[in-house]
Structure formats: structure tokens, C-alpha cells
């Protein structure tokens, strides 16, 4: 039997559409595979199909996952799909297939013996950990007009997982979080709902000057950061384990010298 590869757009909707189309084929699932973005090495004796992302199909798949597996498993799958990984589409597809065959579908994410489920579990954990790191280490700077501005450079697409946290925490602030890798801005106007903006249209924001208070408070925090360490216990290795170097270029206390 010939293998079939479905090429999907790298997004939640794209991959869910792919899963919908895979089921439409009514062929054994072992023969169908989902890949994300452009395939580099085309295989002989295999059929490649491009999936057009379809909101309706995607929301049906999402609905099925939530209904059958529960909210928590759905969240894990969303996290896995936000990861930067070539095989995530295939892993999620086969997780859905395995899960729907299980007796207790709600426990699908606990079944770590299954290599696909384990892969989804790993990807979801990676994204969740990175999102948490950003909740911890993200730093806002204040512009003259009072807007708070933060830049992040995450490996996975964590922006949508961290903004709700800050929107709840700083409801009366105007703030912007910019993912410089993917060129996405999350905008939060004071007292209103937050939204995403793609592209370069508002890059001019970044050319604003920082406020008077910004210098003062970043210096105060720098001072606090240094005095709070106990020199008799100095331990740079532990510091590096807890606070990986790659986050430091975005952090106020490491930018000062």
C-alpha cells in the first residue's frame, strides 16, 4: 500500500485540518502521515497532498479532542503544537488516533508507553517550561508615554501562553510584548482585552525613548540584585542551572555593567 503524506500549515488550525482530512481518507492510519511546512526530502512511492487550512474542520477536531480527552489533554496538545519541532503534527495525529481507541479516553496523556503520546508529552512540557521561564524572566521597560514594553526570543511559540498571565496581573497598564523571532506583538491596552499583531507595522513604537523612571528603577533593581547575593555562598554554576544564559540578554539586571 502506498504511503500518504499530508502537508499542513504550521499552526494549530493547519494541523487540526490535516487530522480532519486524514480521517476523511478512511484508510489505515499507519499509512497516513502529517508533516508541517515544506517537506525537504520527498520519498519515492508516496503521495504528497497539501492541506488548505480550514477553520471549520479545525474547530471540529478541536471540539472532538476537548469532548473526548478533556480540557487538560487539549491544553497539552495545544502546547505541543506551539513547539518548534518537525514531527509535532505526526505525533499529535497519532496521539488522537491512539486516544480514540482507548477505553478511558480521558487518560490518554498518561499513557507514556506509547511513543507518539510520549512525544506530545515531551513537546508540551518543553513549551510549558519555556512559557514559565518567560513568565519569570521577562522584563518590561517603560517608555516616556508610560507604555511597558518587553522583548522575548523564545524557541517555541509561547507568546499566547504568557500574555493572559500578564493581562490578569497588570490590568490597568498599557503593555506590549514582542516576540522578535516570529515578529509578533501582543498588545494590551489598559482595561481592555489583549490581541496579537503580526508584522512590522508598529516597529516604530520601539524607537520611543525610555522614561525618566526607567533608568532610576533599573539601576535600583541592579543594585538590589547584587547586594542580595551572599558572597560566602557564591555559586555561578547553580545560577546558570536555574537561569539559563540565553534568557539573560533580555534581562534588565544583566544588561547593566
Amino acid at each position: 500500500m502506498e504511503e500518504c503524506y499530508l502537508i499542513c500549515e504550521d499552526s494549530l488550525e493547519g494541523i487540526f485540518t490535516g487530522i480532519y482530512n486524514a480521517y476523511l481518507k478512511k484508510k489505515p492510519h499507519e499509512q497516513i502521515h502529517i508533516c508541517v511546512g515544506e517537506e525537504e526530502n520527498y520519498r519515492l512511492f508516496a503521495v504528497y497532498e497539501t492541506c488548505q487550512t480550514d477553520e471549520k474542520k479545525a474547530s471540529k477536531v478541536a471540539g472532538t479532542i476537548i469532548r473526548e480527552f478533556g480540557e487538560e489533554a487539549y491544553l497539552s496538545i495545544c502546547r505541543a503544537l506551539a513547539a518548534q519541532d518537525r514531527d509535532k503534527g505526526e505525533a499529535v495525529y497519532k496521539t488522537v488516533v491512539s486516544g480514540l481507541c482507548m477505553k478511558n479516553k480521558r487518560q490518554v496523556m498518561g499513557c507514556l508507553q506509547n511513543p507518539y503520546i510520549h512525544k506530545v508529552f515531551e513537546l508540551a512540557r518543553f513549551t510549558a517550561n519555556e512559557a514559565h521561564y518567560h513568565v519569570e524572566f521577562l522584563r518590561f521597560k517603560e517608555f516616556e508615554n508610560g507604555i511597558l514594553y518587553a522583548v522575548i526570543g523564545p524557541k517555541n511559540n509561547v507568546l499566547t501562553f504568557i500574555v493572559p498571565h500578564f493581562a490578569d496581573r497588570l490590568p490597568l497598564e498599557n503593555f506590549v510584548i514582542y516576540d522578535e523571532i516570529r515578529n509578533i506583538y501582543a498588545m494590551h491596552p489598559a482595561g481592555k482585552e489583549w490581541y496579537l499583531v503580526y508584522g512590522d507595522e508598529i516597529i516604530s513604537q520601539a524607537e520611543h525613548n525610555f522614561s525618566e523612571g526607567e533608568k532610576k528603577y533599573s539601576e535600583l533593581f541592579g543594585c538590589f540584585f547584587h547586594t542580595i547575593a551572599i558572597k560566602e555562598r557564591r555559586n555561578y554554576k547553580l545560577q546558570r542551572n536555574m537561569l539559563p544564559i540565553r534568557y539573560r540578554e533580555y534581562m534588565t539586571e544583566f544588561q547593566q555593567k
Binding site: Q107, E142, A150, F166, K231, K237, L238, M242
Partner: protein, 458 residues
């Protein structure tokens, strides 16, 4: 300083007002430097224990798991703006950098300065909240009034809904402890030293009973508040993140066994959320204090924390880990492996059938792995490959477990053999194996001798 506080003490301390006035000229930077430097020996920095969403009218929320925002050069987490209100102090505790007889620069914040710093740091996501402690100015009650004013202002005027941890000062009026508890998320009373004798020797102004009184009061306040919350949903919560304490390890000659028994009692009888252990850092020269040429006893502190985790999350009791005859932890093995080696008759454990609590006792398996094992085995038997994926450290666990009746490979279940094998995999310690730590190890090799030397000094 707010004038009403000076008046409220009835002007008993003339001269101090002017002393405080002169501090007004000090820049906020200088104050922050002095008062965070003075606060750094307080261990607790956690922002966990309470999850609370913002109500949309102010600033801040809290996460039950807590959030660290940075890590200092010592690798300790920086979660809260940890400062003292003032480092003036009427007490003369021998281990404390702020003791009365020390000649160090003194400073005091005003409540407004504390509020501004907290809010401005918080909006920039530098910190998770405020940790406010203080030296004793005039009297415990007076000092707590100062703390109360700052915290009250932060909660009401600035509408701050983030995390606040405050110290309850032993000897203060119970009424102020109660009022402060309704504003704070966590309160702590420092036990300072594990035993009453140690306290008497090193902190002549403090008494064990005075320390336990507010601890009991906070515990009862929390229980009462929980009952009220059942009846009336909108009752303000009292210390919702619970209370903690800390004790200094290595300044007095208590054994690990004594320390663990104290900790266990605090967890069981006082419902504490956390007990912190703080390796003694020698900041003062005093004949009553031990000399620690190897630096602070970090390995010992580490072992105590490992054992503390065993008490809180692994269902162990202090009496299982140590005893009168074996009063100190093994320096080479962590307490769990040490326990397992002394109880080989309970091993090997069958992963696919054993009770969760027994799986938790296997070296190399932590709480998360144990939970995952229990969940995963519902869908079929697990083998060693699966365990590896789940996160079990097999090179430690393999001597203690079987999967479907088989061990990973044939091994002897014999104390010496397993010990040798466990030791050949270097234990991961959270501090460098550099000069400092080597000295540390050698210091602990002759632990008893160290204590003897210490006694000679006295």
C-alpha cells in the same frame, strides 16, 4: 517617618526622632543597598502557597506554585523584594549582622518608599511581591506597627494584590499580629536556633516561648479563618499562604537528628508550610560562635533540605531517617538512598504492582515519576525503557526495582555492593565541587572533632 508614630510612642525615646530625621537625606539607592544587604540572610523567598487572580481594579495576582524572577550570584532565587524596614535594632544577637553592638551603617525606609519600590519593580516584572522584615526599633509592637503601615498602604492606596510576606516579631502585641495577618499572604516567625539552649546562648534577648506564642497564634488564626470562610465567602483571608520559619544550622552543636525532630514537630504541631535551614554564615567575630574555615556548612544544609522533602512529600518520618545512635546524615549518600540501604529487606519493589507510597521510597524515583508510573501502568505493564522515558533515574533505581518480576540486569541485593555502585555515580550536588566544597567535605569528615573544637573554644 510619619510623625504620628513618633507621637504614638509617647516620646519615650527623645533623640531617636532626630536620628531618623537625618536618614531622610540618604538617597533611596543607599537605603536599598543597606537594607537589602541586611535582609539577605533571611532564607525564605518563596512566593507560593496561594493562587489569586487580579480583580481588575489594581495591580497584581499570585500563583499557587510561586514564581522566581531571577537568580543571584549565589544561585538563590530572587522572588520577592527582600528588605528590612530598618536595620536599627535594640537586640544583640551574636550571629546577626545588625546586632546592636555592631558598627554598621543604619537606615530606615518610609512606608511610601517601600510602596513605590514594590510597585515599580512589580510592574516591570522584576519581583513577585514584597518580603518585609525589620530590626527591632524601640519595641516589637512599635516595629510591627511600622510594617503594618507600609503593608496597609500598599494594599489599600496602591491596590497591590501581589504576594506579601511579613515577619511576625516575637513579643509584639497579638492584636497587631492579627491585623497584619489579614493583609499578608505569608507570615513567618524565625525560630533562629534549633534548641532553647542555643537561643539562650546566642540570642540573649530572645526566648523560645516568645517565639512559639505568635506561631501558635497564627496557626489558630488560619484554622479559624478557614472555618469562617466556609460560612461567609467574603471574609478576608488570614495568612492564606500559611506560615514558615527558619533556623540557623551549624552555629550551635545540635545534631541533624535534633534538628529534624524539631522540624517534624513544627510541621505536625504547628501546621507550618515550610521550615528553612540556613547554613551559618560567620559575619561577626564572637567567642561564642564557631569558626568555620571551610565556609558555611552547605552540604549539611543540603542534606537537611533533602530530608525535609522526604518528610513533606515522601511520607517519611524523622525517626526513620535518623536516631539517637545515628544522629547525623551520611555525607556521601542522600538520606533516601541511605534509608533504602538500611532496609534492603523491603526491596526489590515490583513497579507494576507496588503501592504508590512504596514506589515513592525507591531511590531514583521522585514524586512526579511515581505519579506518572501509577497513571501509565493502568494502560499496560511498564518495562525499563518506559521507566526511563517517564523520568526515573535508572542508574540509582535499578538495584531496588523489578519490572514484571525481572531486574534490569542481575545484581546482588547486598548493602556493600549497592553502596559501592551508588557511590561510583557521582551525586549531583547543587554546589560546585570546587575548593570550597572540598573543604566542606573534609570538615564534615570529622564532624565530631569540629564540635569538640567548638566546645574547647567556649
Amino acid at each position: 517617618m510619619e510623625s504620628n508614630f513618633i507621637l504614638s510612642t509617647g516620646g519615650r525615646q527623645p533623640g531617636l526622632q532626630s536620628a531618623l530625621m537625618s536618614k531622610e537625606n540618604m538617597s533611596i539607592m543607599e537605603k536599598l543597598k543597606i537594607l537589602s544587604d541586611a535582609a539577605k540572610y533571611d532564607v525564605s523567598c518563596s512566593s507560593s502557597g496561594v493562587g489569586r487572580r487580579g480583580d481588575g481594579t489594581g495591580i497584581g495576582n499570585t500563583l499557587a506554585a510561586g514564581i522566581c524572577h531571577s537568580f543571584g550570584a549565589d544561585g538563590r532565587c530572587i522572588s520577592l523584594l527582600k528588605i528590612l524596614f530598618t536595620n536599627e535594632c535594640i537586640y544583640d544577637c551574636k550571629y546577626c549582622i545588625n546586632r546592636k553592638s555592631n558598627d554598621v551603617p543604619r537606615a530606615s525606609f518610609t512606608p511610601d518608599e517601600i510602596c513605590e519600590l514594590t510597585i515599580q519593580f512589580y510592574r516591570r516584572n522584576y519581583i513577585e511581591g514584597l518580603f518585609l522584615s525589620s530590626g527591632i526599633l524601640y519595641s516589637p509592637t512599635y516595629t510591627m506597627e511600622l510594617i503594618y503601615e507600609a503593608v496597609h498602604k500598599l494594599r489599600t492606596l496602591y491596590r497591590f494584590q501581589g504576594y506579601i510576606h511579613v515577619k511576625a516579631i516575637p513579643g509584639a502585641d497579638p492584636e497587631i499580629v492579627n491585623r497584619l495577618g489579614l493583609l499578608a499572604d505569608r507570615m513567618s516567625v524565625n525560630l533562629e536556633l534549633p534548641t532553647a539552649e542555643g537561643l539562650k546562648r546566642l540570642a540573649p534577648n530572645k526566648h523560645r516561648r516568645n517565639i512559639l506564642t505568635p506561631m501558635r497564634q497564627i496557626q489558630q488564626g488560619i484554622i479559624q479563618n478557614k472555618n469562617e470562610l466556609v460560612l461567609y465567602r467574603n471574609t478576608p483571608s488570614f495568612v492564606p499562604a500559611g506560615q514558615s520559619t527558619q533556623m540557623i544550622v551549624g552555629a550551635t552543636p545540635e545534631s541533624d537528628y535534633q534538628i529534624m525532630m524539631v522540624a517534624e514537630n513544627l510541621y505536625k504541631k504547628f501546621d507550618l508550610k515550610r521550615v528553612y535551614y540556613s547554613a551559618f554564615v560567620s559575619v561577626n567575630e564572637d567567642k561564642e560562635l564557631p569558626a568555620l574555615p571551610g565556609g558555611p556548612p552547605l552540604l549539611r544544609e543540603h542534606r537537611l533540605y533533602q530530608a525535609d522533602w522526604l518528610l513533606r512529600f515522601y511520607g517519611f518520618e524523622a525517626g526513620e531517617l535518623l536516631s539517637e545512635d545515628k544522629p547525623n546524615f551520611n555525607i556521601l549518600l542522600d538520606p533516601k538512598a541511605d534509608w533504602a540501604l538500611r532496609h534492603l529487606e523491603q526491596f526489590p519493589v515490583e513497579i507494576n504492582r507496588a503501592d504508590y507510597h512504596m514506589i515513592l521510597r525507591v531511590p531514583g524515583i521522585g514524586v512526579k515519576s511515581a505519579q506518572r508510573i501509577v497513571r501509565a501502568r493502568r494502560n499496560g505493564n511498564l518495562n525499563f525503557d518506559d521507566l526511563k522515558k517517564i523520568g526515573v533515574t535508572l542508574k540509582r533505581a535499578l538495584y531496588f526495582i523489578t519490572c514484571s518480576g525481572k531486574m534490569m540486569y542481575p545484581t546482588k541485593i547486598e548493602e556493600d555492593y549497592i553502596t559501592r555502585n551508588l557511590l561510583s555515580n557521582k551525586e549531583k550536588l547543587p554546589f560546585d565541587r570546587d575548593g570550597m566544597t572540598y573543604k566542606q567535605l573534609s570538615l564534615f569528615d570529622d564532624d565530631q572533632e569540629e564540635i569538640r573544637n567548638w566546645k574547647n573554644v567556649i
